[in-house]
Structure formats: C-alpha cells, structure tokens
C-alpha cells in the first residue's frame, strides 16, 4: 500500500517503534524511513551516536534506543521529513509528538490546531506546546503537539491553513 499511496500502514509504522518498555520510559525518535535510498544526514545529526547507517549510504537507519533520549535534534535534519519524536507520558492522558513543519503560517506556542494522520485525515485537536526554530534546522520548524495519548503514534501533521486539499 505504501508504495501505491505514500501512506504508511499500521504494520509498517508499528515495526519502527521501540519495545513497549522503552516506549514508556521516555521520549523516543520514530524513523519512518522504509525505503533504501542514498541518504545519511540523520547519522551525523544525532549528537549521542544513536543512529547508524554504515558505509553503504543506501541502508535504512538503525536506532539504538538505549542511547536515543528523544531530544529531537534529528527531526529537522532529515531531508525526507520522516523523523518524529514521541513522548507517551507528556501529561496525564496526553502524549507529545514532535513534527517537522515547512508551511506557513507557523502556529504559535499555545495555539489549538487540527491534527492529521499519515493520510491527511483529521484525527483530533492538538495544542502546540513547543516551537523550535534553531539556526541549524535551516528553516525547517519543529512543532511539539500535545495530543490525546491514544493518537500519539497516529498524528503526523497538522491541517494546512484552511486550504481545501481534498478533491
């Protein structure tokens, strides 16, 4: 399905999550990178050395979840905008997901937005709880979204500024 629609299916992305135990232990990065393409900036992006690709730059990145602390420095460094950071224990009943964002307008911290899934369909409302704009991100904004915890691994974007992108 992914190769036909561009939409990762549940089995695809579930295979990218760390162990249940690690998921509860704190924030973790999810690399939604499913295809062997020649690309390796994520390997250098991690200051802790948790990401490895190896000599063949076509390999899919492997994450050592004992080392990854979910800092999110990799999120803006992936040219494919395919890295997200998930915190399943952000607040009681709520998780937090970091997403890369390259559209205008950039929502403000504290703003309520509509969260969408991998297929662009509306999932729930979300609160922007962080807006990162570090220089090293090179104009890719990183947004922290607070969402109901059951949606934290479903939410991968927010609805574009009121535009109708459906048919």
């Amino acid at each position: 399905m992914l190769k036909m629609t561009g939409i990762a299916q549940r089995a695809d992305w579930q295979a990218k999550l760390p162990s249940q135990e690690r998921r509860q232990a704190g924030p973790y990065a999810v690399f939604e990178c499913y295809q062997e393409i020649p690309c390796n900036p994520c390997e250098r992006a991690c200051p802790r050395g948790a990401v490895s690709i190896g000599e063949d730059i076509n390999h899919i990145p492997q994450i050592d979840y004992d080392i990854c602390n979910g800092c999110g420095l990799c999120v803006a460094r992936c040219p494919g905008l395919a890295i997200f950071v998930v915190d399943e224990n952000h607040a009681p009943g709520y998780g937090k997901v970091l997403i890369p964002w390259e559209y205008l307008p950039v929502p403000e911290n504290g703003q309520e937005v509509v969260a969408v899934g991998r297929d662009g369909q509306e999932l729930c409302s979300a609160k922007v709880v962080e807006v990162r704009r570090a220089k090293g991100q090179d104009r890719t904004i990183v947004l922290g979204l607070q969402v109901p915890v059951e949606h934290v691994n479903m939410v991968r974007g927010i609805k574009l500024g009121g535009e109708d992108n459906g048919r």
């Binding site: 036909m4 900036p41 076509n58 040219p79 390259e102 992108n165």
Partner: protein, 361 residues
C-alpha cells in the same frame, strides 16, 4: 577567438562542480550558461537534498550554487546569459552573449553539462493555457514568486512530480491529486508521505485523458488504467482544476553533442538518447566530456559528483597530475555508493550500456 584550457557548457550542478574542481587544479576555465545566474535547476530547488552528508545532503538546493563554485574563484571566468549555438569538428565552439555579442571559443577540452529537457504527454487539450511542465511551475513559483494557478492536477509521481506538489502546497496552492500511470510511486516514498499527510491523494495506475476548457484549463478528466496500461471505461472522473502540471520524465539535451559527432545511443533507463562515454565521462571524441543529466538523467547529487569527476579527468589530460587522479578515484567511489542501492538499479543498468562504447584511459 577565445583560447582557453577548458570550456564548460552549462552552469548547473554538474557544470559548476566541474569548473570549481578544474580551477582548483590550476586549469584555466571558462564556464558559459544561458541563464542570468548560474545554478541551473538548483536555483528552484527549495527542498533539502538527499545523498551523503559529505556531498550537500541536508542542504537546500537553492543554497548549493554559491557553495559549489564562487564566481571570484581563481582561474574561473563565468559568462552568464551566454548560449552555445554551434560546436564544430575542428574544435571551434560558437556562442552568443545577450542578443548582440557573437564569438568563437577554441578550448583544449570541453565538458558539456547541458542537462535535460522535460518530456511532454499527448492528450486532447494539452495545448490549453494552464498546462505546464513541472520545471516551468518551479520557475514561476520559486524563482519569480508567481503562482501558476489556483488548483493543480499533477501528472507523474516521480521525485519531480512529488517535490513540485509539495512546493505548490507550501505556496498555498491546493493539489487536487497526483496521477501516476505506473503501478507504484516512482519517487522516494518519504517525499510521497509528505504530500500524503497534507491530504493529497496519490493515484497510481491512473492517467490524464484530457484537459478541458474554452480559453484555458477549467477541468481535467482522469481514468484508471488496467494492467496493460489501457484506460478502464467507466472509471473516468472529472476534476476541477485550472492547472495541469506534467512531470513525466526528462531526456538528455544532446543536440550539441550530436552536432559535433559524438556517438549516442538510445537508453530508456537514462531518459533517451545519451552519449557513449568511458568511466572518466569522455565521449567518443577525445576532447569532449559530459557530466550530469546530459550523460543520462539521474539527480543532482550524482550530477555534482559527475561534474567533479569530468573536471578532474579533463584537467588530468591538461597536465594536472596526481591530485586529479585522486579526485577521479574518490568520485568513482561516491558514484558507486549513490547508485548502489535498489533505487539505483535502473541507472546502473543504463550506464553499463554506454560505457562499453568508449575505451577507458
């Protein structure tokens, strides 16, 4: 007559990389480009590039030209707004700057880095205003800040179709759908996922049947394709769009190579007719090299490495020595690495068909 060690025709990623490499090796370089500013397609590429971190991966295309080759670098002369018009067997190349200044160049070696041109698609209504090539949409939008339309149907889900769809969304223009005749998405899936989560449907095994409208595009009819690539009757759907953007592939621009007598071969994996060349990117003529999409359509990261390779190889013949040989070896290893994975398979099989034709040094 302008006498020069090395002439480079085309100032895109391959040409700029070639110029910078040769100049650093002490070779006198003249680079001519028909655009007002060098950079080729890079000047429209607002997204971050893939590839190896050592080769501009993670850098936006628009920021690469000035990193690749500065105009004030020693040994380089860049002539913008200059079009090469002819290339002759006696080694004379003619060029036109602006609309008045016509002159001759006699280089010791030439590297053609003329890039590729867009393929077109036949369908009723394809001559209506509102039907664009993806390159034109990018030029309008990303170079001149002009919106090409209000609502777009993208034809083609290769990297260009998907990336331009993303850039349209960034400019605030809805993309009604991306249709792709093949059974699977041709571009990188991470690019496809970006537009999928923006709500753009990617419809594989679909094609455009026609564009409709009186004075300009008002709608487009799409249909499903069966396993034999034939449209399925009854599956037609009309989509209200004022813009149809075609991203259906590229062909190497080999006109000048043909004029001077370089041997070419039809290689569908590389976009069409491409020049025979050896592993140093030398063509069937001793003084003529190629680099980038003209040598077979690939992508910008490979084009930059090819430019560096051809620049070093031509410099070596002009007396640059051991340093040039080192660069050649590095570049060949980089190309092997970029083309090494499953997405490079088509390119590898295409290049094999071209490299047999010219003996290696």
């Amino acid at each position: 007559m302008v006498n020069i060690d090395l002439l480079i025709v085309g100032g895109g990623p391959a040409g700029l990389a070639a110029a910078s490499t040769a100049a650093a090796l002490g070779i006198q370089v003249l680079l001519v480009d028909e655009g007002l500013n060098p950079g080729g397609q890079l000047v429209k590429q607002t997204h971050k590039f893939f590839g190896s971190g050592e080769h501009y991966a993670g850098t936006r295309g628009i920021d690469i030209p000035q990193q690749l080759c500065r105009g004030d670098q020693e040994n380089i002369t860049i002539m913008a707004d200059t079009t090469v018009l002819g290339c002759y067997e006696d080694g004379v190349i003619t060029a036109l700057t602006g609309e008045e200044k016509y002159f001759k160049i006699k280089p010791q070696r030439v590297i053609f880095a003329t890039g590729a041109s867009e393929k077109f698609l036949s369908f009723p209504g394809n001559d209506l205003p509102g039907v664009y090539g993806a390159g034109a949409v990018q030029t309008l939008m990303n170079q001149y800040g002009v919106l090409p339309g209000k609502r777009v149907l993208m034809v083609g889900a290769g990297n260009i179709g998907i990336i331009v769809s993303y850039q349209l969304l960034q400019a605030g223009i809805p993309v009604a759908a991306v249709v792709e005749a093949a059974p699977e998405i041709g571009g990188y899936l991470v690019h496809a996922s970006k537009i999928a989560r923006a709500g753009v449907p990617i419809l594989t095994r679909h094609t455009i049947l026609s564009a409709q409208g009186d004075e300009a595009v008002e709608s487009a009819v799409i249909a499903k394709l069966d396993e034999n690539w034939q449209s399925i009757p009854g599956s037609e759907e009309t989509i209200d769009v004022d813009t149809v953007c075609l991203a259906v592939g590229l062909s190497p621009v080999v006109d000048l190579l043909r004029q001077v007598g370089c041997k070419t071969k039809y290689v569908p994996q590389l976009g069409g007719d491409a020049p025979l060349r050896n592993q140093h990117l030398k063509t069937s003529l001793d003084w003529v090299y190629v680099a980038g999409d003209v040598a077979g359509v690939e992508e910008a990261s490979a084009a930059m490495v090819e430019g560096r390779l051809a620049g070093a190889a031509a410099s070596a013949e002009l007396g640059a020595g051991a340093e040039a040989q080192e660069i050649i070896a590095q570049c060949q290893a980089s190309l092997d690495s970029l083309r090494g994975g499953p997405v490079g398979e088509k390119i590898r099989s295409g290049i094999t068909q071209l490299e047999g034709g010219v003996a290696n040094a």
